[in-house]
């Protein structure tokens, strides 16, 4: 059965791949052929390679607690963690509903990762009990539904670094346990098989580290040890997936005052590591072993909560010179080194705790 009668399949694919992501669930409900087509990995890779894909930014934000009543100011409830989807190209913000049952939002300080057409939410602090959460929630942009993945084997880990290779593996490293001991351990999650796989320990403990995926390796950036609380390491450690082992620690990579949260990987084909350097007032890229300044860091971007790479731009969430009431999105075009500021619409302001980019 042809995908579209009267059209060779490869051309039918061309047509289907040009349909916007909002229509995926519709396309998948037409017939068996179309459903199989849209669910195939080839569909997504064709969309990406022909530039038809849409890059969505998914954010976990701290939003006002809906249970908080404005008339009783004494009752200050902590903010809830909710997801939003931001499309920088159109400036459009939409809500992404939390998983069913998560009436108090998602676990606070959870980590996000994008794999294919799915968003994975892992870890964080349970919104009710404030205990470390081992839950794994997966949202499919194809079906518009949430599901649970297998919990993390060890529940006691928060503020870890997390990244995905975009295909099937999620990598978790470092963090700390309930006694605030920094962790050296790491784990990998196979999304297709829904199982957690052990990974050898890192060389040192890394609390609050950041994990990026570059060149077939999960690179763990910075973090601090139990004894040196808050003193971020300047080293990085890379885990090679092919050899399933860690490469030796690379010392003195980061600048003295750069936090791992100000670091972000380059895109496909760009093996650099980018960092916002407050001390230098610039944005720099690490290629090989040398840092090179690529743009200024405008005085406007005084405080940054999260940095993401989106297409060939860096998106910085933070607040401008007016302080916390002036939260905005700053976009740096890496080609032109120009910054643009975008306002955040009413209802979507809230500190960005985590974010990831989905290209679908």
């Amino acid at each position: 059965m042809e995908l579209i009668p009267g059209l060779p399949d490869d051309l039918a694919r061309e047509c289907l791949s040009r349909v916007p992501c909002e229509e995926f669930s519709s396309v998948g409900s037409i017939c068996r052929g179309w459903k199989a087509e849209i669910e195939s990995p080839a569909f997504l890779s064709q969309r990406r390679s022909t530039g038809q894909s849409q890059a969505l930014v998914v954010l976990a934000q701290a939003r006002p607690n809906p249970a908080e009543r404005p008339d009783s100011p004494k009752q200050l409830l902590p903010p809830v963690c909710l997801l939003s989807v931001f499309e920088p190209l159109t400036g459009r913000w939409t809500d992404l509903p939390p998983p069913p049952g998560c009436t108090n939002g998602l676990p606070r300080f959870c980590r996000l990762a994008a794999v294919g057409m799915e968003l994975v939410v892992v870890g964080g602090l349970d919104p009710f009990t404030w205990e470390a959460s081992a839950a794994v929630y997966i949202y499919s942009f194809l079906s518009g539904k949430w599901r649970r993945g297998n919990d993390m084997p060890v529940r006691d880990r928060i503020f870890f670094g997390c990244a995905s290779d975009g295909e099937r593996t999620l990598f978790v490293a470092g963090g700390h346990d309930t006694d605030k001991n920094a962790l050296r351990s790491a784990l990998a999650y196979d999304i297709r098989g829904d199982r957690w796989v052990p990974v050898p320990d890192m060389a040192i403990e890394r609390d609050e580290c950041r994990v990026t995926f570059r060149g077939g390796e999960f690179v763990v950036v910075s973090g601090y040890t139990t004894d040196a609380q808050g003193k971020f390491e300047r080293s990085v450690e890379a885990f090679n997936v092919a050899t399933w082992s860690w490469r030796p620690v690379e010392e003195n990579i980061l600048d003295a005052h750069t936090s791992p949260r100000a670091c972000v990987e380059g895109g496909p084909g760009d093996d650099s590591l980018y960092a916002l350097r407050k001390s230098g007032g610039d944005v720099a890229a690490l290629r090989g072993s040398a840092w090179r300044s690529v743009a200024n860091l405008p005085a406007d971007v005084t405080s940054q909560t999260h940095v993401l790479r989106w297409c060939d731009k860096l998106i910085v969430f933070g607040w401008g010179s007016e302080g916390r009431s002036d939260d905005a999105v700053f976009v740096l075009d890496l080609c032109s080194s120009k910054w643009t500021k975008m306002e955040i619409p009413e209802g979507y302001s809230g500190a960005v705790m985590e974010g990831c980019v989905l290209e679908i």
């Binding site: 059965m1 579209i4 009668p5 009267g6 059209l7 060779p8 051309l11 061309e14 047509c15 289907l16 791949s17 040009r18 349909v19 916007p20 992501c21 909002e22 229509e23 995926f24 669930s25 519709s26 396309v27 998948g28 409900s29 037409i30 017939c31 068996r32 052929g33 179309w34 459903k35 849409q54 809906p66 909710l82 989807v85 499309e87 190209l89 159109t90 400036g91 459009r92 913000w93 939409t94 809500d95 992404l96 509903p97 942009f141 194809l142 079906s143 518009g144 539904k145 976009v331 075009d333 120009k338 643009t340 500021k341 975008m342 306002e343 619409p345 009413e346 209802g347 979507y348």
Partner: protein, 357 residues
């Protein structure tokens, strides 16, 4: 001309290429038009075929005479150098207005002739058709079986595609997205850019009009439409650099309430109060076509709500951008027709309120 002899090309005569379609019929086509097709070009250059009736180039099986006619019309237009992007876009929009079956044939034929720009155009058109229809309509249009069980069907659209306005908004978003992508690429292109924008919304509207089979609607509201559109166009096309484009984007629909439009993302239950205020997507006057068009589809209650939305939005727009409004108003004064467009139309209230500020 006797058949056995190769045609002698005199300098003042046009040269022709001979083409043969699968049904056996042979025709001659102006050389520059035929050579626009890579497949024909290659045949001529590599094998020397096509210079006479006896040596006509045999076209692929997927190209029948009628489709060939369309393809050659396309080539005839586009092979002319010096046409502006706007002209080409206008032509393309009109060109692809045909039934789905013919569009499929055209895609197939263009592909066999390796005419990639036309394949892109037609596949986009087909994607737009898919985008605008409900699953039932899609099955009917493309003759597809309904062979999935209810469980297998993915999240069904929540009445969203039944509302023509939301479908329109989705289309406009997609179009805006594309336009912005293109604009980014052509950032330093010619001044014609401005006018490209104008035409694209123009044609989008009449395209949508004709697709919804409402030819009458086109005629009656055309006058009013043109003026609103021109005013809106000045808005979106007057800015070229990033910053102002971003500012423009920022005032895009109070997008919190666009939850419903994105039919994959459900509206957040804690925001349901807002969702209910508002039966469908909110609109940015910049993207929205003239209310005159909408009137044909809506009942008075919806229309009123729409008007309120637009007014509210316009007010917010005004308070933020006094300078921009001055610009728009001064343009509005130049185009006297805006005042004549204010007839017995819901949009008149909006026009007036904008002018008064």
């Amino acid at each position: 001309m006797s058949e056995g002899i190769m045609a002698v090309v005199k300098p003042e005569m046009k040269s022709y290429i001979w083409l043969q379609t699968v049904d056996g019929s042979i025709q001659q086509v102006e050389e520059e038009v035929a050579m626009f097709c890579p497949m024909i070009y290659r045949e001529v250059i590599q094998t020397g075929m096509g210079s006479s009736k006896n040596y006509a180039i045999l076209l692929p099986q997927r190209v029948n005479p009628s489709i060939l006619g369309s393809i050659l019309d396309y080539c005839r237009f586009h092979q002319v150098q010096g046409r502006s992007n706007k002209e080409r876009k206008t032509f393309d929009e009109k060109f692809i207005r045909m039934d789905t079956k013919r569009l499929c044939e055209l895609t197939s034929a263009a592909d066999s002739l390796q005419l990639k720009p036309l394949v892109d155009l037609t596949s986009c058109a087909l994607a737009r058709i898919i985008e605008g229809k409900t699953p039932e309509e899609i099955r009917e249009t493309f003759h597809l079986p309904d062979d999935l069980t209810e469980e297998e069907k993915l999240e069904p659209l929540r009445n969203i595609s039944d509302d023509p306005r939301i479908r329109l908004l989705n289309r406009l978003y997609a179009r805006k997205r594309k336009e912005l992508k293109e604009r980014e690429k052509l950032k330093n292109a010619e001044v014609e850019e401005d006018r490209v924008d104008e035409r694209s919304v123009d044609d989008l509207l009449s395209f949508i009009n004709s697709r919804d089979g409402d030819a009458k609607g086109v005629k009656t509201s055309k006058g009013k439409k043109k003026n609103r559109r021109r005013k809106d166009q000045k808005d979106s096309s007057s800015t070229k650099d990033d910053e102002t484009i971003q500012k423009e984007l920022d005032t895009s629909p109070s997008t919190k309430r666009n939850g419903e439009i994105n039919n994959i993302l459900e509206a957040n239950p804690s925001r349901s109060a807002n969702a209910q205020d508002f039966s469908s997507g909110s609109f940015s006057p910049k993207l929205e076509p003239d209310d005159g068009f909408m009137d044909d589809d809506l009942d008075p209650a919806m229309k009123e709500e729409l008007d309120r939305e637009v007014e509210d939005f316009a007010r917010r727009l005004n308070s933020g951008w006094p300078e921009r409004m001055q610009e728009i108003l001064s343009l509005g004064q130049e185009k006297k027709s805006i005042s004549s467009a204010i007839v017995d139309n819901g949009s008149s209230r909006t026009c007036i309120s904008l002018n008064q500020r």
